[in-house]
C-alpha cells in the first residue's frame, strides 16, 4: 500500500516536476527546486526520490534518445501520475490543517 503523505523532499520533487512540465528530467527538476526554494539538490538524492516515487506509482518515467552533449547517454523524463497529483493534494491539505490555529505562526497586524 503506497503512502499517501509525502516527505518534504518528495513533495518538492513532485511540485518541481509539475512546474517543469512534460519534458522534466533530473537536471531540470533539481534546477527548478534550487531556483524556487534556494535549496541545493544532489542529483543522486533527486533520482533516489524519483525512483521511490515511481515504485509507489506517483510518477512515471520514459527514457529518451541518447545525445552527444551527454556523452551518448539518454535522458529519463518524468511525469506526475494522477495518483501522484492526489498525493500532493492530500499532503497540502494535511499541512494546511496543521498550520491553522497556531498562535506562534500568526502574523501581527500593524
Amino acid at each position: 500500500m503506497p503512502r499517501s503523505l509525502l516527505t518534504d523532499f518528495e513533495l518538492m520533487i513532485l511540485l518541481a516536476t509539475l512546474r517543469v512540465g512534460d519534458d522534466a528530467y533530473g537536471v531540470q527538476i533539481a534546477r527548478e527546486i534550487e531556483r524556487i526554494s534556494g535549496r541545493k539538490v544532489l542529483l543522486g538524492a533527486a533520482y533516489a526520490a524519483l525512483d521511490r516515487l515511481e515504485r509507489n506509482e506517483l510518477v512515471a518515467s520514459t527514457v529518451g534518445n541518447p545525445t552527444a552533449e551527454r556523452g551518448g547517454r539518454a535522458k529519463r523524463f518524468f511525469r506526475v501520475t494522477p495518483r501522484g497529483l492526489r498525493a500532493v493534494k492530500e499532503t497540502r491539505q494535511a499541512l494546511v490543517a496543521l498550520w491553522q490555529d497556531l498562535p506562534q505562526l500568526k502574523e501581527k497586524r500593524t
Binding site: 533530473g26 542529483l43 543522486g44 533520482y47 527514457v63 545525445t67 552533449e69 556523452g71
Partner: protein, 147 residues
C-alpha cells in the same frame, strides 16, 4: 553558468568519477548523463566529484535497504526433488566482499569516506579485531585443556 569550451582536457568531466559511476551505478545512466550535461554547462570538477560520490553513497545505502528473500529453495516445494537432481549453476563472488550488494570498489569508496569523515572509527575496528583474536586464543586454550 557559462557553457564550457568543447576542446581540451578541461571540457571533459573527471574520467575517474565517470568510471566510478559506470561501475557502481550502471543502472543510473541518465544520472551520469545529467552530470555530464551540467559539467558541460559550466559546473566545476569539484561539483562533479561531490555529486558522483553522493550518488555512489546513496546507491550503496539504498541497496542495503532492499529486502532480499532468502531463497533457500530454488522453486516451488513440489519441484525440489527435480531441482536437486540438476544442479543449478553457482555464481561466484569475485568482488572479494562478504557484504551483499557492496562490491570491491564500493567497499574501497566506503573505506575512504570513513577515513575522511570518522577516522576515529578505525580505533573501534582495530579494538574489535584485537578482541576477536584474544577471544579465539582463549577458546583454543580452553579446548586444549579439556582435551
Amino acid at each position: 553558468m557559462t557553457p564550457r569550451l568543447r576542446s581540451g582536457q578541461a571540457s571533459q568531466p573527471p574520467r575517474l568519477a565517470v568510471a566510478l559511476l559506470n561501475r557502481v551505478v550502471p543502472q543510473e545512466e541518465p544520472l551520469t548523463g545529467d552530470l555530464v550535461e551540467e559539467f558541460a554547462a559550466g559546473r566545476s570538477r569539484a561539483w562533479f566529484w561531490r555529486q558522483a560520490i553522493a550518488a555512489v553513497a546513496l546507491t550503496a545505502f539504498r541497496r542495503s535497504d532492499e529486502v532480499r528473500p532468502l531463497r533457500l529453495v530454488d522453486g516451488a516445494p513440489a519441484r525440489v526433488s527435480s531441482a536437486t537432481m540438476v544442479r543449478p549453476r553457482r555464481s561466484v563472488n569475485i568482488t572479494g566482499s562478504p557484504i551483499a550488494g557492496v562490491g570491491g570498489l564500493t567497499l574501497a569508496v566506503l573505506v575512504v569516506l570513513m577515513t575522511v569523515v570518522v577516522p576515529q572509527a578505525w580505533w573501534v575496528i582495530a579494538a574489535a579485531a584485537l578482541a576477536g583474536v584474544i577471544f579465539g586464543v582463549v577458546l583454543i586454550a580452553i579446548r586444549r585443556t579439556r582435551a
